[in-house]
Symmetry: C2
Subunit: 160 residues, 2 copies
Amino acid sequence: MQSALSELEKEVVDVFVRIAGALSLPRSVGELYGVLFISPQPMCIDDLMRKLKISKGSTSQGLKILRSFGAVNSVYVAGDRRDFFTAEAELRRIVSGFVNEQVRPHLDSGQARIARITSLLEEDSSENKEFIAERIERLQGWQKRAGALLPFASNFMKPD
Amino acid sequence: MQSALSELEKEVVDVFVRIAGALSLPRSVGELYGVLFISPQPMCIDDLMRKLKISKGSTSQGLKILRSFGAVNSVYVAGDRRDFFTAEAELRRIVSGFVNEQVRPHLDSGQARIARITSLLEEDSSENKEFIAERIERLQGWQKRAGALLPFASNFMKPD
DNA sequence: CAGATTGTTCATAAAATAATGAACAGCCAG
DNA sequence: CTGGCTGTTCATTATTTTATGAACAATCTG
Protein backbone atom coordinates (compact mmCIF):
# COMPACT_ATOMS: atom_id res chain seq x y z
CA MET A 1 0.00 0.00 0.00
CA GLN A 2 1.84 3.08 -1.17
CA SER A 3 1.34 6.08 1.00
CA ALA A 4 0.77 8.78 -1.60
CA LEU A 5 -2.27 9.53 -3.69
CA SER A 6 -1.95 8.72 -7.38
CA GLU A 7 -3.14 11.24 -9.91
CA LEU A 8 -6.28 9.21 -10.37
CA GLU A 9 -6.92 8.95 -6.66
CA LYS A 10 -6.48 12.67 -6.27
CA GLU A 11 -9.15 13.30 -8.88
CA VAL A 12 -11.59 10.93 -7.28
CA VAL A 13 -10.98 12.39 -3.85
CA ASP A 14 -11.55 15.80 -5.30
CA VAL A 15 -14.96 14.77 -6.57
CA PHE A 16 -16.00 13.73 -3.09
CA VAL A 17 -14.49 16.78 -1.46
CA ARG A 18 -16.79 18.87 -3.61
CA ILE A 19 -19.76 16.73 -2.77
CA ALA A 20 -18.93 17.06 0.91
CA GLY A 21 -18.86 20.81 0.51
CA ALA A 22 -22.29 20.81 -1.10
CA LEU A 23 -23.62 18.81 1.84
CA SER A 24 -22.00 21.08 4.43
CA LEU A 25 -19.67 18.37 5.57
CA PRO A 26 -15.99 18.95 6.42
CA ARG A 27 -13.51 18.55 3.64
CA SER A 28 -11.81 15.70 5.45
CA VAL A 29 -15.02 13.68 5.36
CA GLY A 30 -15.04 13.88 1.59
CA GLU A 31 -11.38 12.94 1.43
CA LEU A 32 -11.87 9.90 3.60
CA TYR A 33 -14.84 8.62 1.68
CA GLY A 34 -13.07 9.24 -1.62
CA VAL A 35 -10.02 7.21 -0.68
CA LEU A 36 -12.12 4.36 0.63
CA PHE A 37 -14.33 4.48 -2.43
CA ILE A 38 -11.50 3.66 -4.83
CA SER A 39 -9.63 1.35 -2.49
CA PRO A 40 -10.02 -2.35 -3.29
CA GLN A 41 -8.87 -3.19 0.23
CA PRO A 42 -10.36 -2.15 3.53
CA MET A 43 -8.30 0.53 5.24
CA CYS A 44 -7.54 1.36 8.85
CA ILE A 45 -7.08 4.75 10.45
CA ASP A 46 -3.34 4.57 10.01
CA ASP A 47 -3.63 3.90 6.29
CA LEU A 48 -6.01 6.79 5.86
CA MET A 49 -3.84 9.20 7.83
CA ARG A 50 -0.83 8.35 5.74
CA LYS A 51 -2.65 8.51 2.41
CA LEU A 52 -4.32 11.82 3.09
CA LYS A 53 -1.71 13.35 5.40
CA ILE A 54 -4.31 14.39 7.89
CA SER A 55 -4.22 14.06 11.65
CA LYS A 56 -5.45 11.15 13.68
CA GLY A 57 -8.10 13.35 15.24
CA SER A 58 -9.54 14.38 11.90
CA THR A 59 -9.50 10.83 10.71
CA SER A 60 -11.31 9.49 13.73
CA GLN A 61 -13.80 12.32 13.70
CA GLY A 62 -14.40 12.03 9.98
CA LEU A 63 -15.01 8.30 10.15
CA LYS A 64 -17.44 8.87 12.96
CA ILE A 65 -19.46 11.18 10.76
CA LEU A 66 -19.35 8.78 7.83
CA ARG A 67 -20.49 5.93 10.04
CA SER A 68 -23.28 8.07 11.47
CA PHE A 69 -25.14 7.89 8.18
CA GLY A 70 -23.86 4.57 6.98
CA ALA A 71 -21.46 5.77 4.31
CA VAL A 72 -18.76 3.48 5.66
CA ASN A 73 -18.74 -0.11 6.86
CA SER A 74 -16.52 -1.74 9.45
CA VAL A 75 -14.71 -4.84 8.37
CA TYR A 76 -13.02 -7.43 10.50
CA VAL A 77 -9.49 -8.29 9.44
CA ALA A 78 -8.14 -11.50 10.90
CA GLY A 79 -5.10 -11.11 13.09
CA ASP A 80 -5.22 -7.36 13.28
CA ARG A 81 -6.48 -5.49 16.28
CA ARG A 82 -7.17 -2.36 14.33
CA ASP A 83 -10.54 -1.36 12.84
CA PHE A 84 -10.82 -1.53 9.08
CA PHE A 85 -13.30 0.27 6.87
CA THR A 86 -14.74 0.13 3.39
CA ALA A 87 -16.91 2.62 1.58
CA GLU A 88 -20.58 1.75 1.41
CA ALA A 89 -21.18 1.60 -2.33
CA GLU A 90 -24.94 1.45 -2.43
CA LEU A 91 -26.12 4.96 -3.02
CA ARG A 92 -29.57 4.23 -1.74
CA ARG A 93 -28.24 3.32 1.68
CA ILE A 94 -26.08 6.37 1.96
CA VAL A 95 -28.86 8.66 0.86
CA SER A 96 -31.36 7.22 3.25
CA GLY A 97 -28.86 7.34 6.09
CA PHE A 98 -28.04 10.92 5.31
CA VAL A 99 -31.65 11.89 5.06
CA ASN A 100 -32.53 10.24 8.34
CA GLU A 101 -29.59 11.55 10.31
CA GLN A 102 -28.80 14.93 8.81
CA VAL A 103 -31.94 16.17 7.13
CA ARG A 104 -34.98 14.85 8.94
CA PRO A 105 -34.02 16.34 12.30
CA HIS A 106 -33.89 19.79 10.74
CA LEU A 107 -37.26 19.32 9.12
CA ASP A 108 -38.72 18.19 12.40
CA SER A 109 -37.40 21.13 14.37
CA GLY A 110 -38.63 23.36 11.59
CA GLN A 111 -42.06 21.86 12.03
CA ALA A 112 -41.96 22.62 15.74
CA ARG A 113 -40.85 26.17 15.10
CA ILE A 114 -43.68 26.80 12.69
CA ALA A 115 -46.14 25.59 15.29
CA ARG A 116 -44.68 28.13 17.69
CA ILE A 117 -44.99 30.84 15.09
CA THR A 118 -48.62 30.00 14.56
CA SER A 119 -49.37 30.50 18.22
CA LEU A 120 -47.43 33.77 18.27
CA LEU A 121 -49.55 34.91 15.38
CA GLU A 122 -52.75 34.37 17.30
CA GLU A 123 -51.71 36.84 19.98
CA ASP A 124 -50.72 39.24 17.25
CA SER A 125 -53.17 41.83 16.09
CA SER A 126 -51.56 43.99 13.49
CA GLU A 127 -53.44 45.21 10.48
CA ASN A 128 -51.33 42.81 8.42
CA LYS A 129 -52.36 39.75 10.30
CA GLU A 130 -54.08 38.34 7.28
CA PHE A 131 -51.07 38.70 5.03
CA ILE A 132 -48.76 37.20 7.59
CA ALA A 133 -51.12 34.32 8.19
CA GLU A 134 -51.08 33.55 4.50
CA ARG A 135 -47.30 33.51 4.50
CA ILE A 136 -47.07 31.21 7.47
CA GLU A 137 -49.51 28.81 5.86
CA ARG A 138 -47.46 28.89 2.74
CA LEU A 139 -44.33 28.14 4.69
CA GLN A 140 -46.09 25.22 6.27
CA GLY A 141 -46.98 23.95 2.82
CA TRP A 142 -43.34 24.10 1.77
CA GLN A 143 -42.34 22.20 4.83
CA LYS A 144 -44.84 19.49 4.05
CA ARG A 145 -43.69 19.26 0.48
CA ALA A 146 -40.07 18.93 1.51
CA GLY A 147 -41.01 16.14 3.89
CA ALA A 148 -42.81 14.34 1.08
CA LEU A 149 -39.88 14.70 -1.28
CA LEU A 150 -37.38 12.97 0.95
CA PRO A 151 -38.68 9.40 0.87
CA PHE A 152 -39.22 9.85 -2.79
CA ALA A 153 -35.61 10.86 -3.32
CA SER A 154 -34.47 7.77 -1.47
CA ASN A 155 -36.57 5.52 -3.67
CA PHE A 156 -35.33 7.27 -6.72
CA MET A 157 -31.91 5.80 -6.02
CA LYS A 158 -33.40 2.35 -5.88
CA PRO A 159 -31.33 0.23 -8.25
CA ASP A 160 -27.95 1.55 -7.02
CA MET B 1 -42.29 50.77 9.54
CA GLN B 2 -40.80 50.06 12.92
CA SER B 3 -37.13 49.31 12.88
CA ALA B 4 -36.96 46.34 15.21
CA LEU B 5 -37.91 42.74 14.66
CA SER B 6 -41.00 41.55 16.49
CA GLU B 7 -40.92 38.23 18.26
CA LEU B 8 -42.82 36.71 15.39
CA GLU B 9 -40.49 38.17 12.81
CA LYS B 10 -37.50 36.87 14.70
CA GLU B 11 -38.90 33.36 14.59
CA VAL B 12 -39.61 33.52 10.91
CA VAL B 13 -36.17 34.93 10.14
CA ASP B 14 -34.68 32.15 12.19
CA VAL B 15 -36.40 29.56 10.04
CA PHE B 16 -34.82 31.00 6.93
CA VAL B 17 -31.44 31.42 8.55
CA ARG B 18 -31.44 27.68 9.15
CA ILE B 19 -32.51 26.96 5.61
CA ALA B 20 -29.75 29.21 4.34
CA GLY B 21 -27.26 27.25 6.42
CA ALA B 22 -28.45 23.98 4.95
CA LEU B 23 -27.96 25.41 1.47
CA SER B 24 -24.49 26.77 2.26
CA LEU B 25 -25.62 30.34 1.93
CA PRO B 26 -24.53 33.14 4.28
CA ARG B 27 -26.65 33.76 7.30
CA SER B 28 -27.45 37.26 6.11
CA VAL B 29 -29.06 35.87 2.98
CA GLY B 30 -31.48 33.91 5.11
CA GLU B 31 -32.18 36.93 7.26
CA LEU B 32 -32.92 39.11 4.26
CA TYR B 33 -35.26 36.64 2.66
CA GLY B 34 -37.00 36.02 5.97
CA VAL B 35 -37.76 39.67 6.58
CA LEU B 36 -39.01 40.16 3.04
CA PHE B 37 -41.08 37.00 3.28
CA ILE B 38 -43.24 38.29 6.11
CA SER B 39 -43.27 41.89 5.01
CA PRO B 40 -46.53 43.04 3.41
CA GLN B 41 -44.70 45.99 1.88
CA PRO B 42 -41.74 45.99 -0.45
CA MET B 43 -38.55 47.04 1.32
CA CYS B 44 -35.46 48.94 0.27
CA ILE B 45 -31.87 48.43 1.34
CA ASP B 46 -32.20 50.99 4.07
CA ASP B 47 -35.23 49.31 5.56
CA LEU B 48 -33.48 45.97 5.56
CA MET B 49 -30.33 47.35 7.14
CA ARG B 50 -32.29 48.93 9.93
CA LYS B 51 -34.50 45.92 10.59
CA LEU B 52 -31.66 43.43 10.65
CA LYS B 53 -28.91 45.72 11.91
CA ILE B 54 -26.49 44.53 9.28
CA SER B 55 -24.15 46.58 7.13
CA LYS B 56 -24.93 48.08 3.78
CA GLY B 57 -22.34 45.84 2.17
CA SER B 58 -23.91 42.67 3.51
CA THR B 59 -27.32 43.84 2.47
CA SER B 60 -26.29 44.66 -1.06
CA GLN B 61 -24.31 41.46 -1.39
CA GLY B 62 -27.09 39.35 0.08
CA LEU B 63 -29.71 40.80 -2.23
CA LYS B 64 -27.43 40.13 -5.14
CA ILE B 65 -27.31 36.46 -4.22
CA LEU B 66 -31.06 36.29 -3.71
CA ARG B 67 -31.65 37.89 -7.07
CA SER B 68 -29.21 35.51 -8.72
CA PHE B 69 -31.64 32.66 -8.30
CA GLY B 70 -34.84 34.61 -8.36
CA ALA B 71 -35.72 34.50 -4.68
CA VAL B 72 -36.40 38.19 -4.66
CA ASN B 73 -38.19 40.55 -7.05
CA SER B 74 -37.54 44.20 -7.72
CA VAL B 75 -40.50 46.49 -7.35
CA TYR B 76 -40.91 50.02 -8.58
CA VAL B 77 -42.18 52.46 -5.99
CA ALA B 78 -43.48 55.70 -7.42
CA GLY B 79 -41.64 58.80 -6.32
CA ASP B 80 -38.75 56.99 -4.69
CA ARG B 81 -35.36 56.67 -6.28
CA ARG B 82 -34.43 53.67 -4.22
CA ASP B 83 -34.80 50.02 -5.26
CA PHE B 84 -37.49 48.06 -3.49
CA PHE B 85 -37.75 44.32 -3.12
CA THR B 86 -40.27 41.65 -2.29
CA ALA B 87 -39.74 37.97 -1.58
CA GLU B 88 -40.61 35.65 -4.43
CA ALA B 89 -43.29 33.47 -2.88
CA GLU B 90 -43.60 30.74 -5.48
CA LEU B 91 -41.46 27.91 -4.26
CA ARG B 92 -41.22 26.36 -7.69
CA ARG B 93 -39.50 29.44 -9.08
CA ILE B 94 -37.01 29.67 -6.27
CA VAL B 95 -36.18 26.01 -6.48
CA SER B 96 -35.67 26.03 -10.19
CA GLY B 97 -33.57 29.18 -9.99
CA PHE B 98 -31.47 27.68 -7.25
CA VAL B 99 -31.03 24.44 -9.12
CA ASN B 100 -30.01 26.19 -12.30
CA GLU B 101 -27.63 28.66 -10.73
CA GLN B 102 -26.17 26.87 -7.77
CA VAL B 103 -26.51 23.16 -8.39
CA ARG B 104 -26.34 22.48 -12.11
CA PRO B 105 -22.90 24.05 -12.56
CA HIS B 106 -21.46 21.71 -9.94
CA LEU B 107 -23.04 18.71 -11.59
CA ASP B 108 -21.64 19.77 -14.94
CA SER B 109 -18.12 20.25 -13.69
CA GLY B 110 -18.43 16.91 -11.93
CA GLN B 111 -19.34 15.36 -15.25
CA ALA B 112 -16.23 16.85 -16.83
CA ARG B 113 -14.06 15.63 -14.00
CA ILE B 114 -15.36 12.09 -14.32
CA ALA B 115 -14.52 12.14 -18.00
CA ARG B 116 -10.97 13.12 -17.07
CA ILE B 117 -10.80 10.33 -14.55
CA THR B 118 -11.89 7.83 -17.14
CA SER B 119 -9.03 8.82 -19.40
CA LEU B 120 -6.57 8.67 -16.50
CA LEU B 121 -7.80 5.18 -15.83
CA GLU B 122 -6.94 4.02 -19.34
CA GLU B 123 -3.27 4.89 -18.84
CA ASP B 124 -3.38 3.14 -15.53
CA SER B 125 -2.33 -0.45 -15.30
CA SER B 126 -2.55 -1.60 -11.74
CA GLU B 127 -3.76 -5.03 -10.82
CA ASN B 128 -6.87 -3.33 -9.42
CA LYS B 129 -7.82 -1.68 -12.63
CA GLU B 130 -10.97 -3.70 -12.87
CA PHE B 131 -12.17 -2.79 -9.41
CA ILE B 132 -11.44 0.86 -9.94
CA ALA B 133 -13.19 0.82 -13.29
CA GLU B 134 -16.28 -0.56 -11.63
CA ARG B 135 -16.21 2.23 -9.06
CA ILE B 136 -15.83 4.94 -11.64
CA GLU B 137 -18.74 3.55 -13.60
CA ARG B 138 -20.77 3.51 -10.46
CA LEU B 139 -19.88 7.09 -9.75
CA GLN B 140 -20.96 8.00 -13.23
CA GLY B 141 -24.28 6.32 -12.59
CA TRP B 142 -24.78 8.37 -9.46
CA GLN B 143 -24.04 11.51 -11.34
CA LYS B 144 -26.61 10.63 -13.95
CA ARG B 145 -29.19 9.88 -11.34
CA ALA B 146 -28.61 13.17 -9.59
CA GLY B 147 -29.04 14.97 -12.88
CA ALA B 148 -32.32 13.20 -13.44
CA LEU B 149 -33.59 14.00 -9.98
CA LEU B 150 -33.25 17.74 -10.31
CA PRO B 151 -35.95 18.50 -12.87
CA PHE B 152 -38.15 16.12 -11.03
CA ALA B 153 -37.66 17.99 -7.78
CA SER B 154 -38.59 21.22 -9.50
CA ASN B 155 -41.80 19.74 -10.82
CA PHE B 156 -42.59 18.30 -7.46
CA MET B 157 -43.08 21.85 -6.22
CA LYS B 158 -45.54 22.50 -8.98
CA PRO B 159 -48.63 23.91 -7.28
CA ASP B 160 -46.71 26.28 -5.01
C1' DC C 1 -23.00 70.91 -14.11
C1' DA C 2 -22.60 70.59 -8.89
C1' DG C 3 -24.24 68.42 -5.13
C1' DA C 4 -26.91 64.67 -3.22
C1' DT C 5 -28.43 60.19 -2.98
C1' DT C 6 -28.18 55.34 -3.87
C1' DG C 7 -26.03 51.00 -4.60
C1' DT C 8 -21.67 48.19 -5.39
C1' DT C 9 -17.03 46.69 -4.57
C1' DC C 10 -13.31 45.27 -2.11
C1' DA C 11 -9.58 45.41 1.43
C1' DT C 12 -9.76 44.42 6.15
C1' DA C 13 -11.78 42.73 10.54
C1' DA C 14 -14.53 39.51 12.91
C1' DA C 15 -16.60 35.22 13.46
C1' DA C 16 -17.40 30.48 12.50
C1' DT C 17 -15.61 26.11 11.18
C1' DA C 18 -12.30 22.54 10.74
C1' DA C 19 -7.77 20.41 11.79
C1' DT C 20 -4.29 19.35 14.98
C1' DG C 21 -2.07 16.68 18.47
C1' DA C 22 -1.48 15.63 23.21
C1' DA C 23 -3.97 13.55 26.97
C1' DC C 24 -6.80 9.92 27.96
C1' DA C 25 -9.58 5.56 28.17
C1' DG C 26 -10.16 0.85 26.82
C1' DC C 27 -8.38 -3.37 25.82
C1' DC C 28 -5.73 -7.14 24.88
C1' DA C 29 -1.35 -10.10 25.54
C1' DG C 30 1.99 -11.70 28.15
C1' DC D 1 -0.92 -6.26 36.84
C1' DT D 2 1.94 -4.02 33.34
C1' DG D 3 3.22 -2.31 29.01
C1' DG D 4 1.98 -1.49 24.48
C1' DC D 5 -1.49 -0.57 20.96
C1' DT D 6 -5.66 1.53 19.24
C1' DG D 7 -9.09 4.83 18.93
C1' DT D 8 -11.54 8.98 20.96
C1' DT D 9 -11.93 13.53 22.92
C1' DC D 10 -11.18 18.14 23.39
C1' DA D 11 -8.57 22.51 24.14
C1' DT D 12 -5.89 25.07 21.06
C1' DT D 13 -4.42 26.62 16.46
C1' DA D 14 -5.15 27.32 11.69
C1' DT D 15 -8.13 28.09 7.96
C1' DT D 16 -12.09 29.55 5.74
C1' DT D 17 -16.09 32.11 5.54
C1' DT D 18 -18.79 36.15 6.38
C1' DA D 19 -19.53 40.93 7.73
C1' DT D 20 -18.01 45.53 7.79
C1' DG D 21 -17.52 50.14 6.14
C1' DA D 22 -15.01 53.40 3.48
C1' DA D 23 -14.05 54.44 -1.31
C1' DC D 24 -16.09 54.52 -5.57
C1' DA D 25 -19.33 54.68 -9.54
C1' DA D 26 -23.67 55.65 -11.22
C1' DT D 27 -27.77 58.21 -11.34
C1' DC D 28 -30.82 61.61 -10.43
C1' DT D 29 -32.23 66.68 -9.16
C1' DG D 30 -32.31 71.22 -9.20
